[in-house]
């Protein structure tokens, strides 16, 4: 058996696809803590990684898991963890560590009903804002939202590439249904996928700076290669040394934010459906987008000019496209399995009438509710 | 002639001086101080077995009185290195002077 999943057609679930996508992207270190509905990823990793020479460790909690993958990434390994809401809350601390130390890692959050322990094996989309603002301080996170088993595979690879390119933790905000849903997965041969390999610094023996705040893409150093750099969770200057000065914070923070903001056009991905001459645009992501798509299809058959916009990158927010759409659309409808989160950003950017549909976490969204709202918006 | 070993009494401890004590040359050390690193914690002045060091009256850039070698004790250092080992600030080190 080769290291990666052989090409072909598979009938499998999202958790399997995410695991295999990660391995194809080069993930060789996984630290995690069991939590429904993402445990299958941990289980499969525990089998797959050792047989290809990778490392798997089941940590004592999610805090430790996140710290371990940031550590492993600093030692040169592409690393990942998978969790769900309660664990994702615990990981916020070290997601921030990954951000400030510019360490690429992947966090897969399979959203379930909350708050707190909520409903362990029922779907939710209540972590959307947490993927944006979860860790304290100013951040420019990158979050992907898959809506199928195929995307669980493909987007995991994309996420690893983004993490390596922009040197920061990248979040995949999947949900319980996508994780447990079984459908067709098409896998191409390994060389057909574009994989961004880790760029690392050469030996310097303490002579070169760890960071360069005027350059968005400075390779990181790997521990044990003689670079002798300091990696710090405190606000640090380009040497990597801690500083209490506001001007250092300004330089560092603007670098951290700008490397994503300036490259938003390259990062942002979305899918559009029936957006030609649409008066009503349903903005939906994750599992909700599948119900929304069906509702839009029926609405079109009824002659209603409805379309759907699906952000694949939840963050950075597809600001340009939403602004364009808002100029030729009357209404946005934002269905989510929460009580209104992403809708706030859509309303803020779109500046037009934005209707929210609140699906209660715990059940798969019903397309009829979305269809009803579309019909009502016309009349 | 066989010398008797000397016995010193110091705070209740008994130190025996080896019989061939006189035959060994006493090592000599040179003390190097970085006055700008010293924070006058007094570890070295307290632990120097020959009481070579003392707090100076000069002031360094951070406002501390860095240590210095006592007047008249310039030749008393035996290069044991205790001050260097105990200094928390990397502010002092000793080199052995070849005699």
């Amino acid at each position: 058996m080769t290291d990666v999943l052989p090409p072909g057609r598979y009938f499998t679930d999202g958790n399997f696809a995410s695991t295999e996508g990660a391995i194809l992207a080069g993930c060789r270190f996984f630290a995690g803590y069991p939590i429904t509905p993402s445990s299958e990823i941990l289980e499969r990793m525990s089998k797959r990684l050792p047989e290809i020479g990778g490392h798997f460790i089941e940590m004592e909690d999610e805090i430790g898991s996140m710290a371990a993958i940031v550590g492993a990434s600093n030692a040169g390994m592409k690393s990942m963890t998978a969790t769900s809401g309660p664990g994702f809350s615990l990981m916020q601390e070290n997601i921030g560590l990954g951000m400030i130390t510019e360490t690429p890692t992947i966090v897969l959050d399979e959203m379930r009903a909350g708050p707190s322990t909520g409903i362990p094996t029922r779907v939710g989309q209540g972590d959307v804002m947490q993927t944006r603002w979860g860790s304290h301080g100013d951040l420019a996170p990158i979050t992907y939202s898959p809506n199928s088993v195929q995307e669980s595979f493909d987007l995991t690879i994309t996420a690893f590439n983004a993490a390596e390119t922009y040197r920061q933790p990248v979040i995949i905000a999947s949900d319980q249904v996508i994780g447990h849903l079984s459908e067709t997965l098409e896998v191409k041969s390994e060389d057909e996928y574009e994989i961004v390999q880790r760029q690392t610094r050469k030996v310097r023996n303490g002579s070169e700076d760890v960071y360069n705040y005027s350059d968005d893409f400075v390779p990181m150093f790997v521990s044990g290669t003689g670079f002798r750099g300091n990696v710090d969770s405190l606000t640090h200057d380009e040497k990597g040394y801690p500083s209490n000065e506001a001007y250092v914070e300004k330089k560092m923070l603007e670098h951290l934010l700008n490397k994503v903001r300036k490259n938003e056009d390259k990062i942002v991905k979305y899918e559009e459906f029936y957006l030609d001459e649409s008066d009503i645009v349903v903005v939906a992501y994750g599992i909700t987008s599948r119900a929304a798509k069906y509702a839009v299809k029926i609405a079109r058959k009824e002659g209603i000019k409805a379309g759907m916009f699906r952000p694949i990158t939840l963050w950075p927010f597809p600001e340009k496209r939403i602004t364009q759409l808002s100029q030729r659309t009357k209404t946005f409808i934002v269905p989510e399995i929460n009580y209104g989160q992403y809708s706030h950003s859509v309303r803020e950017v779109g500046q037009i009438e934005t209707k929210e549909i609140h699906f209660t976490p715990g059940a798969v969204p019903d397309y009829k509710v979305i269809l009803d709202q579309i019909r009502r918006s016309v009349s | 002639m066989i010398k008797e070993s000397k016995i010193n009494h110091d705070q209740g401890n008994i130190w025996r001086t080896p019989v061939n004590y006189e035959r060994f040359p006493k090592p000599k050390g040179k003390i190097h101080i970085f006055p700008e690193r010293c924070k006058e914690c007094n570890y070295c002045t307290n632990y120097c077995p020959n009481e070579v060091l003392e707090r100076s009256t000069s002031v360094n850039v951070y406002g501390y009185h860095p240590v210095r070698v006592k007047k008249g004790k310039e030749d008393s250092c035996v290069a044991c290195g205790m001050c260097q080992t105990i200094c928390p600030d990397f502010a002092i080190f000793v080199t052995e002077v070849r005699q």
Partner: protein, 280 residues
């Protein structure tokens, strides 16, 4: 007597960062010096050492060491170091952090790393309080002693760290103070050769906080109190060596445990080898 000279250990420290942040009379500089003394003697190349810390005064040590160093989040040094060690088992990974960082907020990670016998050297500088935040009491504050948050005296019992580490399965356990730098260097060097989890507790003063609250004039006086009340007993019964110097109990020091137990990295290597063969 000129600054143009180099300190004998200058190639191991980031000299441009001196003088360091610690207070006058703080023992952390001695611990820093002891650590690099052990690195020098360990025979392992400087670039194969990695130093990881959490948050706190002690956690500032890596910032002064001229090697690959990581200053991470509060309490998370051990899992971070676990990640580095597993990703590159050839590195000698040392965690150096304070008692609050390792045993209050990071206690869970400590017990599990010791249980796994993870190949890490953990050095805990124990100053009996949270120094950086102003001297509040923690899990190691001795009974009845005072701190910024126990003005009437501490009513909680304190951790007996060597006993804890031993019970969890650590391969190597020792306790010294910063007033025993030569023994400490030897102990750290021995611990670096250990396969598995090695733990060294190092008693250190906190001049502006714990010393002040408990009637010591400065760091020197506090340390002199522990030193003069200490006895070295390598074979001490570990359940009986809790630190309670204010009630006449001697502070027991020594290299208590050095035993062979299968380490995590050894077992993981075997597991990977076996599963790689199995998959072919």
């Amino acid at each position: 007597m000129t600054s143009l000279e180099f300190h004998p250990k200058h190639q191991y420290v980031r000299e441009e960062r001196f003088p360091h942040v610690w207070c006058p009379g703080c023992g952390l500089g001695i611990l820093l010096q002891s650590y690099i003394g052990a690195v020098e003697k360990s025979g392992i190349p400087q670039d194969n050492h990695v130093l990881v810390s959490g948050i706190g005064c002690t956690a500032r040590i890596p910032g002064y060491v001229n090697m690959d160093t990581y200053h991470t989040t509060h309490g998370r040094a051990i899992p971070f170091a676990t990640g580095i060690k597993l990703a590159n088992p050839d590195l000698k990974v040392t965690v150096i952090s304070g008692d609050g960082d390792l045993f209050n907020i990071g206690g869970n990670h400590f017990i599990h790393a010791a249980r796994r016998n993870m190949d890490l050297l953990v050095i805990c500088s124990n100053n009996f309080n949270y120094g950086m935040t102003g001297g509040q009491h923690g899990a190691t504050t001795p009974p009845t002693s005072k701190s910024a948050s126990t003005p009437y005296g501490n009513i909680e019992p304190a951790f007996n760290l060597p006993h804890l580490a031993y019970a969890l399965g650590a391969s190597y356990v020792a306790r010294w103070t910063v007033m025993h730098p030569r023994q400490l260097v030897k102990s750290i060097k021995t611990a670096m050769e250990v396969k598995g989890f090695a733990f060294i507790e190092v008693l250190s003063p906190c001049p502006p906080n714990f010393a002040k609250f408990n009637g010591f004039a400065d760091g020197f006086e506090e340390m002199e109190f522990y030193r003069s009340n200490s006895i070295v007993r390598n074979e001490a019964k570990l359940d009986d060596i809790s630190i309670d110097p204010f009630h006449g109990k001697p502070v027991v020091l020594g290299d208590f445990v050095n035993r062979k137990r299968a380490s995590y990295v050894t077992l993981e290597r075997e597991l990977i080898k076996k599963s790689m063969e199995g998959s072919r």
